[in-house]
């Protein structure tokens, strides 16, 4: 539904379901910890606890996310069950090789994201709420397949050999999938919060671009092969540093796409007040607000991620800050959005200049994310193109 007044859903799930959800997450955490207590070190236990708390928090006012988590868990466990201990089944077993093996799941994810993008555009053009709902459903399925793919890949890496096993956030290929999934989840959250689906075509555009890149990267460079971790990456910090970073990148990307929508609407509103753009996109104030929300969220997570990176660097490289190009670009991104937030919060700037700035911010972010790996060398020298 397109809600032009821009009212928001606060929380609409019953306290009972909330408690059930929290209970489920706590139970899952406890089961996991008791099953694997011998093999987990204290950091990994911390990460499991963090994940359980994080998931129960995320799901408490977000019923679709609960369903998503349960489906992802179910499919992932099913895939693990099919695999058993034989990696070769990934090529032989029908369900695995066509749907659930990580590479197949990623292909489904890619196809579904592209389809979702097209469907959102169609919905916008046809002014059809139903089509937009279909697009949402497609986005959820794409996200589910991406998440399942990541989970299964994690297991696959251990099936290659226990010493090769690692969380799939260790190279550019894997983080591109993470980026697509996280950006989609962020968007889906706000889509529900703000009861507006018309921004989907914009946000999904960035995701589709990421998917296109990731496919090229896989086919052209064979990047999808699971590689063992170089010694510098063998650290529990990686498990939290990288995802935190990608919440930041995802949120900044979303802000930029909302900024684009804002600019389009502010232009079309005068040129064609009853046109598609002017009538279908949410009110400018709503988009302005969303843009701020996304950047604030991204900034908060990016701050955490950068600090985690510093903590890790202190352990791996002998200093918490080395002015390594990736580090420095993280700082540049951070400074840029700090300036944006100051303008917005203390000088009250809003509207078009801030939208432009958010769009430019995407390019700064993109350089930190990709450009550094492509053009600059430094300590972060894994993940080169």
């Amino acid at each position: 539904m397109t809600n032009l007044a821009g009212t928001m859903i606060e929380d609409d799930s019953s306290p009972l379901s909330q408690w059930l959800w929290r209970g489920l997450m706590v139970a899952a955490g406890i089961v996991l910890l008791s099953l694997y207590s011998q093999v987990l070190d204290s950091y990994e236990i911390g990460i499991v606890v963090l994940a359980a708390v994080g998931l129960s928090f995320l799901g408490q006012n977000w019923p679709p996310f609960r369903r998503h988590t349960i489906v992802v868990a179910g499919l992932s466990f099913f895939a693990l069950y099919l695999y058993g201990t034989d990696l070769a089944l990934g090529q032989k077993d029908f369900l695995l090789s066509y749907i659930l093996a990580s590479q197949s799941a990623f292909m489904w994810m890619s196809a579904l994201f592209v389809l979702a993008t097209l469907t959102y555009f169609l919905g916008l053009l046809l002014r059809s709420e139903f089509t937009e709902k279909v697009a949402s459903a497609l986005t959820w399925s794409a996200t589910t397949m991406g998440m399942v793919g990541l989970m299964v890949r994690w297991r696959e890496s251990y099936l290659i050999s226990p010493d090769v096993g690692h969380i799939p956030v260790s190279n550019l290929y894997e983080v591109f999938i993470l980026f697509a999934v996280i950006t989609a989840l962020l968007y889906l959250f706000y889509e529900r919060r703000y009861q507006t689906r018309s921004l989907g075509s914009f946000v999904l555009l960035v995701i589709s671009a990421a998917v296109a890149f990731q496919l090229w990267y896989a086919f052209e460079k064979g990047a999808h092969e699971i590689q063992p971790l170089v010694p510098a990456l063998q650290s529990y910090w990686m498990k939290i540093h990288v995802p935190a970073n990608f919440v930041g990148y995802g949120a900044f990307a979303m802000a930029a796409m909302i900024g684009t929508a804002y600019l389009l609407k502010s232009w079309r509103q005068i040129a064609a007040p009853n046109g598609l753009i002017a009538s279908r996109l949410p009110p400018l104030t709503v988009m302005d607000d969303l843009m701020y929300k996304a950047i604030a969220l991204g900034f908060a997570f990016f701050t955490v991620a950068t600090i985690l990176g510093a903590l890790w660097a202190a352990e791996a490289w002998g200093g918490y800050w080395s002015w390594d190009p990736k580090e420095t670009w993280a700082l540049i991104v951070w400074l840029n959005y700090a300036a944006w937030l100051h303008m917005r919060m203390t000088k009250g700037w809003h509207g078009r200049p801030m939208a432009w700035w958010a769009v430019i911010g995407l390019f700064v972010t993109l350089f930190a994310f990709l450009g550094v790996n492509m053009f600059l060398s430094g300590l972060h020298s894994y993940g080169t193109l």
Partner: protein, 666 residues
Amino acid sequence: MSDVSNSSIPRHTLGQRIFQFLGTMDLAITLLLSLAVASIIGTVLQQNQPYTDYLIKFGPFWFDVFETAGLYDVYSALWFLAILTLLVISTSVCLIRNTPSMLKDMWNLRTHVQEKSLQAMHHKDQWSVDSSVDVTVTTLQDELIKQGFRVKQTPKTDEILVSAMRGGMNRMGYISTHLAIVIICLGGLLDSNLPLKLAEWQGKIKIETRDLPIKDVPAESRLPVGSQAFRGSIHIPEGRSSNVAFVAMRDGYLIQELPFKLEVKEFRIEHYATGQPKSFETDLLVYDDDLKVPLATTISVNHPLIYKGYAIYQASFSDGGSELTLEAWPLEQSAGDVAVSFDTKVFDNRQMRWGEQSLKLEMLSFRPFNINPDPTEDDPNRLRNFGPSFGFKLREDTGEALEYLNYMLPVERDGREFYLSGVRSSPAEDFGYLYIPVDDEGGLEAFNHFLIQLRDNELIEKLASEMASETLMVMENQNEGLKQSLHESLTTLVTMFVRGGFIEVNDFIETVLPEAERDTLGPAYLSMLREMLARIYFSDFEDTELVEDSQLLFLQDAVDAVGSLSRYGAPVFFLLTDYVHVEASGLQVARSPGKPIVYLGCALLIAGVFLLFYLPQRRFWMIVKNKESNSMILLAGMSNRNPKEFDAFFEKTAQTLRQVSGNSRA
């Protein structure tokens, strides 16, 4: 927070004006963005490279300009530090100016509001209930407390004002983030090399740029044990120890003395099944007078040792002077006819003499494995171990040098085996490879024998004469003059080939032969040369009828190798016959007394950012007054964040308050 309110005060002293300017938002944002731009420079231009690299890249003029601007080490350049300092000052000024009012705002429940101003607020609601003022106030107040508000009652003449606030800590967020910036920068400053730079300007220390043994480094380039921050590195070969670290500064270094001695017992690299490195580890012993027994520990990447505030990291590894046994196989006449064996070590230099020629042999490197993409497979991910290799340079008296890389084991190509040696004249080039064919015995004897034959003038004369006669016989020509000239051409061709390879022979064909005959005579010359070479090679074979294909292939490979010797540039080929691998562990030793301070700042920053964004400050006011035995309630509210969310929040809270007070909206 701009200073509009202050502009009405007519005169400021200069000091006040500067103070004010330092605290303006415009300055803050300008500084944030200039810091970003300055940082970009440092990432685009690779930092802290050897100065000669920059000189080659930019030329002498721009090299000087960039050096003066401090661009080779932007992050400790004066102007960069100046921006940072200004940022710290500006943030501090902001803090000093805003903190008092923020703290007040955090606690103050604003009990002085008038009904008029509540009526003017955007969020308000008004209703009446039929209970007494006191009861109503208590009920409403309890509900607000239940929702996490701090409340305060202010009785007025005929009404009661209830002021409530939630999320006052939001203001703490401002203080916390900005204080964090100041703290992080100060902590970082403690750990920077600024103190060293100051000491350098005062002339207390001097950067050493010469390559000296540690004990010869003068005192002015040594930093005594102390509490200052530093980041140094040191390579320690297995079985050796060190009590200093090298601190790199611009184009030189300083020596930092350590209060303990580090001994490397063993350095290890473990590999995955695919050949990529899995772990780098060092077994370390720490000797310290404070320790009864030396501290034995193992460090690895991501797992440093922290000892007495010093952190010791596994940073890299290198050769620690591996012992190599080499055989020098002659390639040129000056080097004699037989291979000479000798021992050397990586990093050793020695003067070698071959006849008139004198070259310095500089041993550069040794690697026990070379795991590279397999050239016989299409998939670049298929790796193969090419075995040990060693690198060296041969330097002439003029200073010019060629760099070589030799592999210990023969490499297979097209089913035959070759010894491989790469050569290049600068590190910027790729290696060009010489392939020397391996004989049936797996050695270089056969190739060496062929070389000796090629230098045997008597043999060549004899074979040339035979070949000239046979050729003329086939042509049924008895011309003695023609035979003589053919004989001469054949010997010249062989001599030219041995001296300058195919290049010289081709040059000869291109320059000496008349153009008209080049197309016909050129190929004829080449095939005559090949025939001669074959005759030389087979000259001491008992029965040339029984030559196997493998012999022909060997000949072809040997001819190719001889043909490229002139480009190889070395009078001998060094064959590695034995080695003892000695590794050196590359350690980084660091002291960062500022680290806890920086971490404190980081914690404050995270806490502050979340407080700022996710804990909106929300205020409510209620005026409850008596009206004909009913109570009239005026509710108003405001928030400093998320107006959209506050719309909904206000709506919901108002609804709840109405309900608990006994009035639900129709």
